[in-house]
Amino acid sequence: MSDPHDHTTPPSDAELRTKALETLLIEKGLVNSQALNALIDTYENKVGPRNGATVVAKAWCDSNYLDWLRSDATGAIGSLGFTGRQGEHMKIVENTDSIHNLVVCTLCSCYPWTVLGLPPVWYKSAPYRARAVSDPRGVLAEFGAIVAEKTNIRVWDSTAEMRYLVIPQRPVGTENFSQTELANLVTRNSMIGVERDLQVTGDKT
């Protein structure tokens, strides 16, 4: 969605307040306009779910790396250059045939920025935050993921500074895929846990 100024709708209250605050802070020399642009550019264009997909694909291909993720996810993820804000204390949670993991932050919107970027709107929304802990199967169904009754669902409420990355299951039929090709199969939603079965795309069989 864009935010066109078509001269018929007045700017929103939030837009006016933001503009006023930015103007004041720049005038007083307290924030730098180029620094603001750099912050936005980082999370619009540089840090996003491709980082997480790289971690997942490497975990699928390299059992030593997976072991490292299990014992020190922060270090293992940091070794790929993904460090810093909202990823200071990382943990992986692995899906198996009998376990499905789902991540939420019921109190705000804690999310592993270093590997997934900024959270999507739905992750920050009241209905997701409310129901992920009380009705995860219903939430998953709303995303189109049907999880078998016998599958145990583990919901991780990010109430501290621990940040959780779901390692989805590697799709069958991908034995010949390169790590890069595998990473291309990994969706952001699967690394939050609202998607379970990754789709194999491309002509690799």
């Binding site: 933001t18 620094a35 804000r85 019921t106 995303f143």
Partner: protein
Amino acid sequence: MNGGHDLGGVDGLGPINPEPEALESVFHHEWEKRAFALTLACGFWGQWNLDESRHARERQHPADYLKNTYYENWLQGLETLLAEKRLLEDENIQKLSSKCISADSVGDILSRGGPVNMPTDTTPAFHPGDDVKVMNNHITGHTRVPRYCAGRIGFIEAVQGFHVFPDANALGQRTGQYLYSVRISAQELWGRDSHSVYVDLWQPHLTSVRKS
């Protein structure tokens, strides 16, 4: 405090209506980008910590918190902190201008982040497998104990380390406490269903439960 932000288990909020992943942009309005970046840039002055900033958003009237969009809540929180700490008054402006970050330093600051683990010479009171009860004390200040688990019994899944304690940190006191991953069953929480919820909780919020 169990304000409008404490949403775990609340009914009646309607469908989630997620945008398809492939079509969703990071920001949805230009002003959201600016509000996001302003919040981070002002945070880098070091005049408040993460928990104070969360608490500033949580303290809104629940009706406002729920009505606002996400970045409206961020903007509200930022305005609250700037006003309460009188940071835009003349004597503070001069002090802060030396803390204004440049575009060149953004990458370093973000990739360093702000770890919250602290050194300690104490040992954790609880160990994996221990049954614990979440204290039923409904703290009225900032806390990271969701109301849905107050008074509930679970067990220690893991010791997560010795981390800054948010309840004190929101008051400007950076002290550490042991942090645990606590597993609580859906039966215990909601009286139905078979899933488990893992909540990260600090030692002062937990009491031991004698195994029967």
